[in-house]
């Protein structure tokens, strides 16, 4: 029998990007909050600039719950799914925000209105066949105040492009109107970034620096970025990366209303006979506890949110919690970030000291920022010319057809070219489809004997066409900047697991096609909320974290304001 603990007002499962933000408005509202985190506290002593530890061996974690429950993956339902080699996410207080790239974009207004905007501009027939895409139940303007508060609470650096309708060409002219500037200026550009920006202007495009949850000045009592070059999957030794373990979680703890339990491995959400959530069961080592709560908020990663719902079977929910309409796991998609385009330059890029959140963005070919009337797809991609160079990875670069990848001739090649290659990061519009979904794997279990998540998904024609289209733009940009070789990766294939995993508990007004309502609460279990990108119904062409955090803040603020009606 699990040991029953004292009841809390709210239990939050997972203290990462989303849960780590949501605890702050809840604690500030005076609610008694328990945060359950599978990982432990880590600090800057754990964040050595060490490529072997961070990138080769995935070692920053002391607890590897994610590793035990790696999803399986297959392209379509006719295949048998194989378990992926490593899980992309992190177990720790602060979660993956400890070692993420920290790109902190707002979605563009179009991303909230893909269906209605496509119909208005091009007609209904342009919605790809088989896609289950819907408009969001809220628009950009409704989320803007929450983007704004999160940008300030965690600290985001960047350059505004649309300040209350006033376009500033130094920023992204396509972004939705923002009420205020970023709280800090953008990360610096190197000579290579300036060269890329100049090449983009020559093509008639508008280059701008991207936004990052990274300090560029003293902010929140911590200093600015050191550009040390180990930011990708590395924690920050200077505490300049604004992970939630440094920002919203300590601030919530300071209210006295948040209690954090580490090494807590949640196994089940419990419900009463009326189908209301009553709390969660969790393990710390071999000890099992039941944490009663009036409201349960799931804030683990997309795969774990869906898995926990599907594993929590009960009389009111025989197919898994909040799944009486069979929507849990549906409308899943991994962000299309592949279709790489890489280049070799005839000069050193001097990219050793930089980070993936530092660079030059082009948004002309994203979303509906260009006319699709004569094209056979909707959406597009954001082109991102970033810095990301570490020694082992650099020495593993491809040779662009210039000989073997080892031996004496290769030594001469790498001596000259280790700092001369570049790969664009191109995030592309990705849509949900009828036959892409998450469910429980029938063959593979975790260490506790519970099935892991199975990903069934492949990119469809729309994603492939977007990818080929933006690859053309990327190659043109590289050529304009003087590249001597350009290579391209394939445009399609299986979705696989991703750090940008969307859907599975989609947000929407219609309970027949969505798991949570416009506020993030279950259509079926009204005191159960879901946080994270699993509620997002479209991807946009940029990183999801800030949107997941803005939505999490909004759900938490709504809970605090509507406490009596939701808590019952």
């Amino acid at each position: 029998m699990p040991r029953q603990l004292a009841a809390a007002d709210v239990v939050v499962v997972g203290l990462g990007a989303a849960g780590g933000v949501a605890v702050l408005p809840l604690a500030q509202a005076g609610l008694d909050v328990v945060g359950l985190e599978a990982g432990t506290w880590l600090d800057r002593r754990d964040f050595a600039p060490d490529e072997i530890r961070n990138n080769v061996r995935d070692w920053p974690m002391l607890v590897k719950k994610t590793e035990q429950e790696r999803p399986t993956s297959r392209a379509n339902a006719s295949q048998t799914a194989n378990q992926i080699g490593s899980h992309p996410m992190m177990n720790a207080v602060g979660g993956t925000t400890l070692h993420y790239w920290a790109q902190s974009w707002r979605l563009n207004p179009w991303d909230f209105r893909v269906v209605s905007e496509t119909m208005r501009r091009y007609g209904r027939a342009r919605i790809p066949v088989g896609s289950t895409v819907q408009d969001w139940p809220l628009d950009y303007a409704e989320l803007e105040p929450f983007y704004d508060v999160v940008e300030r609470e965690i600290g985001v650096s960047g350059q505004a492009g649309n300040l209350r309708g006033q376009i500033d060409p130094r920023g992204n002219q396509f972004e939705g109107a923002r009420e205020r500037e970023y709280p800090m200026p953008a990360l610096r550009w190197t000579a290579f970034h300036e060269r890329m920006a100049e090449a983009a202007r020559g093509l008639g495009w508008n280059p701008f620096p991207g936004p990052a949850a990274i300090n560029t000045a003293e902010y929140g009592g911590r200093g600015g970025c050191g550009y040390h070059g180990y930011c990708n999957k590395g924690g920050c030794p200077l505490d300049a990366k604004n992970s939630t373990h440094l920002t919203t979680i300590p601030k919530a703890l300071a209210t006295g209303n948040l209690r954090v339990v580490t090494r807590a491995h949640v196994t089940t959400v419990q419900v009463d006979r009326d189908g209301r959530a009553t709390g969660v069961n969790y393990l710390v080592g071999n000890n099992e506890y039941f944490q009663p709560a009036r409201v349960v908020l799931l804030a683990s990663y997309t795969y774990e949110n869906v898995r926990l719902l599907l594993l929590s079977k009960s009389d009111p929910y025989p197919n898994g919690l909040s799944n009486n309409r069979g929507q849990v796991g549906r409308h899943y998609f991994s962000h299309h970030q592949g279709a790489a385009v890489s280049a070799l330059f005839p000069y050193d890029l001097k990219a050793w000291y930089g980070l993936p959140a530092q660079g030059v963005a082009i948004d002309e070919w994203a979303d509906d920022n260009f006319d699709h009337a004569d094209l056979d797809f909707i959406g597009g991609g954001n082109l991102w010319a970033m810095s990301d160079r570490r020694p082992i990875a650099a020495a593993n670069m491809g040779t662009f057809g210039r000989g073997r990848t080892w031996g004496s001739a290769w030594k001469r090649f790498i001596h000259e070219n280790a700092d001369r290659s570049h790969g664009f990061y191109i995030q592309k519009t990705t849509l949900p489809y009828e036959d892409n979904f998450l469910d429980l794997d029938p063959r593979v279990n975790d260490a506790l004997g519970f099935p892991v998540i199975r990903i069934t998904g492949e990119f469809k024609d729309n994603e492939r066409r977007v990818a080929a289209f933006v690859q053309d733009k990327a190659e043109a940009w590289y050529r304009a900047a003087g590249a001597i070789e350009v290579t391209r990766g394939g445009v399609g294939g299986a979705m696989g697991a991703s750090t940008h995993a969307y859907g599975g508990t989609r947000m929407g007004d219609d309970p027949e096609t969505n798991v949570v309502d416009r506020w993030g609460f279950s259509h079926e279990a009204p005191n159960l909320g879901v946080l994270g990108a699993s509620v997002m119904g479209t991807s946009g062409a940029r990183n999801p974290t800030l949107t997941a955090q803005a939505l999490a803040w909004r759900t938490a603020a709504h809970l605090a304001e509507s406490w009596s009606s939701i808590a019952g």
């Binding site: 002593r45 600039p49 061996r57 050191g226 030794p237 050793w352 000291y353 080892w406 001596h415």
Partner: protein
């Protein structure tokens, strides 16, 4: 490379096989790396003199073959030291005791299969082949062509090639904390300017003007970081 040098090089490899890669003597090293002065980046730091026991996870015969493979992957030449001198064997041995212990069987089986393939297809043990023939064997192993039970690899030979290549690169270009990249040989080869925690605008400008001196240090030299498992200076502190 003339024949005399090639033979002295092979003697070096036999030393590595008999006593572990780290037993290379300073005079053998200087012979192997002479000509480094022609490199665009001066190799100014002397490679450390390390003595250690034979590899813990491989026999002397296996070590000799692995040393020969690693030496062809990143050879010592006029551009500077190779993977062997950088300590890639020591890195691999330490990794097989710790984080990569699940790969030990793949190493033993792969080394045996490569040598079997060498004898079958080239008529001699791998270590007795000329450098040119060793390269041609490795090309077959990399492409997956060296497969065939009894004559080579039972599974794909490419998997073994990639395993050894990945670890050789990690042992040449990774942080010296793990036993490789001795004398920062790997970082000098790719002109990596070194580990720094804060790079000012001025330092970035100096880098762009080729005026920034390499920072020759391990991340753990800063003293503020906890190593996952810190080997002592004589290498006996590994988790074994």
């Amino acid at each position: 490379m003339n024949e005399d040098v090639r033979i002295s090089r092979r003697d070096l490899l036999k030393v590595a096989g008999a006593a572990g890669a780290a037993a290379l003597t300073p005079s053998a090293l200087s012979a192997a790396t002479s000509g480094a002065a022609t490199s665009a980046t001066p190799v100014a730091v002397a490679l450390p003199v390390v003595t250690s026991a034979p590899l813990l996870n491989l026999t002397a015969a296996e070590t000799e073959i692995l040393a020969a493979i690693v030496d062809r992957l990143i050879p010592s030449d006029e551009l500077g030291p190779g993977a062997l001198e950088a300590g890639a064997l020591r890195f691999i041995d330490r990794a097989l005791s710790e984080a990569e212990s699940s790969s030990a069987d793949a190493y033993r089986a792969g080394i045996a299969a490569l040598d079997r393939y060498s004898r079958y297809s080239r008529g001699a043990a791998f270590v007795d082949l000329s450098s040119r023939d060793q390269d041609s064997v490795l090309i077959d192993v990399q492409s997956g062509a060296a497969t065939g039970a009894g004559t080579g690899f039972e599974g794909s030979s490419a998997a073994f090639f990639n395993l050894v290549k990945d670890h050789t690169w990690q042992g040449t270009f990774g942080d010296p904390q793990y036993g490789g990249n001795a004398g920062f040989a790997g970082w000098d080869l790719i002109r990596y300017p070194g580990v720094r925690l804060r790079v000012t605008d001025e330092e970035q400008r100096m880098l762009e003007a080729d005026e920034l001196e390499p920072a020759r240090r391990s991340a753990y030299d800063f003293g503020q970081f906890q190593a996952q498992s810190a080997p002592s200076s004589n290498g006996s502190g590994d988790a074994r």
